[in-house]
Symmetry: C2
């Protein structure tokens, strides 16, 4: 299959009801992962379905075509979505990683997770001032990871053009903390 | 930039001397990471360079166009290369992850790293028997990670069509342990 075919038709098909049904049906709930009481949204069935995966990537990329210089992808599931979004948009890819993973000089942003705490790091030379950056992750939950990513991008003088994810857990109120940013989520929000 | 343009021209340009020089010049050596005495090959300058990133992905994908059903990508830097390779080839993406990260039932393969030990996991329902799988990682060093990935793929009855990486550290002899497999590395091997 020619990659361009998919990227071209993506905007339309990805917002279509049929595409949304395909993608939604391939997200499975796994109880008690990574902790008891947490219902984990497992996107691996979607990743493993060639048409669904291509549709998801194209849908994430479409609103930002021609508007982005770099895609910042959040470790580790954000890499699986953000890296092909960067390829589809023709941009570079900036990995935002857990503490101690990046080898050169980093900036750090601590944040609270739905379950626990973490620190996100970015190479300080990864972005130039005024570069237009799209932040990609798999899920927007509390929004804490996205806010940490925004702090890292803006901390070096670059600009956040948008924040996009495949899923949103509306009950955790992540979007409220992202006020003023262009937040796009491919699938309809789930309550928890 | 239209994605298809890139994928189409990839086979030729990626093997060209100019493309190799571009990519090689964007891999930087970082001393003493993650441990004293290790010289780490940092590919983040390459990832952040839009043309280099697109060239690298297209070069990784080109030899396997039309020959692969699923791309198995190894956490975490392997995700950054393997996911866009899956998108470029029109396949699904199977994440091979560190222990405890995958939420559903997994198969496990322990392996020795250049520095330390680890376990690679794959969802047991991620591949069907006879599916054709391309394994993607950033670097082939001792080959231990690639061999663990092969065991996981073959353990569920799927077939390894090839193993590809951006870099190879020839001095660690990884290729010897991958005898009989189609191993492709984009950049010329470095001694250490």
């Amino acid at each position: 299959v020619h990659v361009g075919d998919r990227a071209d038709g993506a905007g339309a098909s990805a917002t279509g009801a049929e595409a949304i049904r395909l993608l939604t049906g391939l997200v499975r709930n796994v109880a008690d992962h990574p902790q008891p009481g947490i219902v984990f949204k497992d996107i691996t069935p979607l990743l493993g379905h060639p048409d669904a995966y291509a549709t998801a990537i194209a849908a994430l990329a479409a609103p930002f075509q021609g508007r982005v210089d770099q895609v910042a992808a959040i470790e580790a599931r954000g890499f699986i979505l953000g890296a092909p979004v960067a390829y589809a948009l023709g941009t570079g890819l900036v990995p935002m990683r857990k503490v101690g993973k990046l080898p050169a000089a980093t900036a750090s942003a601590p944040y609270a997770l739905e379950y626990g705490e973490a620190v996100l790091e970015m190479h300080v030379d990864a972005l130039r001032p005024e570069e237009r950056v799209l932040v990609v992750d798999d899920v927007i939950a509390t929004g804490g990871t996205a806010r940490a990513a925004i702090r890292l991008v803006e901390g070096v003088g670059a600009r956040v053009v948008g924040i996009t994810a495949l899923l949103e857990i509306a009950g955790l109120g992540g979007r409220a903390g992202l006020d003023g940013y262009d937040v796009r989520v491919v699938l309809p929000p789930t309550p928890d």
